[in-house]
Point group: C2
Chain length 194, copies 2
DNA sequence: CATGTACTCCTGTTTTTCAGTGATTTTTAC
DNA sequence: GTAAAAATCACTGAAAAACAGGAGTACATG
């Protein structure tokens, strides 16, 4: 449905040639082994593999192809991951025809393009930073808490003292501005951290 | 983008007339006050309002219009809510042209249509019933727990004894097959209950 | 009317979490 | 190479949650 939409938005554009489409990561790689376009519009949600991972793979094999991330989700974490995996831009699925054209024309020059809304949330999350920045250990502890482990169990799992786990736990509560496990886990879940 | 896709998939179909499209709940209602189609393909993610709520509203005002839910998410809770709000079916955005045509032709006869994949998850969740059935009180207690309230605070809020809250809490842990608050909240969050 | 379900409440005990304070060692980054 | 950030650990006491087991009331449904 989305592929059809993009095709119909682009097919009459001069200067743009539609080379093909793929509906999975594997078929995309198979296609690329035959011919390589200048730009790929890559969905994040693929049946066999994450578009985020595929992006990295494609960029490794074919560094000259520019990739535009494509997703329904206007989520800072996704945008970040796509860009850090070599994507040149990010377009939302509710983008207008003009936006897509702008995006393609921008990235083909080697520049970065972000959808208007995407750029907004990107900037906002940069400024307000609503997602607390967690350290490696804190993330580990958080996800083990979410699994239902107690401090002692977590300590055993990570080969550290229960007291240390307790400290990480306190820091997590502070960073999330919560006062107990329940609200901590809820917030973390809402932020898609766990 | 998606609208373009559907339009291009349907525009050459005989027996189907494309009456228009809207990109928000409010513009949809404005459109419907002018003319009413037989079928609406309604996205769940709208900028101003949830498609789930809009579905209810449209069905109340125009009971004769059949609504097909449309979403990227193959989530049982969404499907359920759409159907209980009067939708006649649910189609995923990766549906084929044939699926959309089938869906439209099915619902227009007053029957229900579910996308293949949607029907799968629907049935699966029906059989295994991974979502525990909660009572009214349990839902209340659960959401207050998720807010970070303690048993005493919840008791005060609901005008019941802390002991009762404790009992509900025990039942919640049992129903979710969890052993503490952390994993309870995580599961509930994943099931979109809170 | 018996059975089941939901809601209510109780007494204890044990385990876990939360709060506060303080300190050492490793890593990381500039 | 040094300053900042992260990770480590300890102690105390209070608060909260988890576990166990029992028990009464209301209400609907078969």
């Amino acid at each position: 449905m989305v592929i059809e939409g993009i095709r119909s938005l682009l097919q009459h554009e001069k200067g743009i040639e539609w080379m093909g489409h793929a509906t999975s990561a594997s078929s995309c790689l198979a296609f690329l082994s035959q011919e390589q376009p200048d730009v790929i519009l890559m969905d994040i949600n693929l049946p066999d593999q994450s578009g985020i991972d595929l992006c990295k793979e494609v960029k490794q094999r074919y560094p000259s192809i520019f990739i535009l991330g494509l997703s329904t989700f206007n989520q800072q974490s996704f945008i970040e991951k796509m860009l850090s995996n070599g994507a040149s831009g990010y377009v939302l699925k509710n983008a207008t025809q003009q936006e897509i054209l702008d995006a393609i024309n921008t990235v083909i020059k080697g520049k970065q393009y972000l959808s208007f809304d995407a750029a907004l949330t990107f900037r906002k999350s940069d400024e307000t930073s609503d997602n607390p920045i967690l350290t490696r250990r804190e993330k580990e502890v958080l996800s083990l808490i979410a699994e239902g482990l107690t401090n002692n169990e977590i300590a055993a799992q990570l080969f550290i003292s229960p007291a240390t786990v307790d400290t990480h736990r306190k820091n997590l509560l502070a960073k999330f501005a919560t006062k107990n496990t329940a609200s901590l886990i809820r917030k973390a879940a809402q932020m898609q951290i766990i």
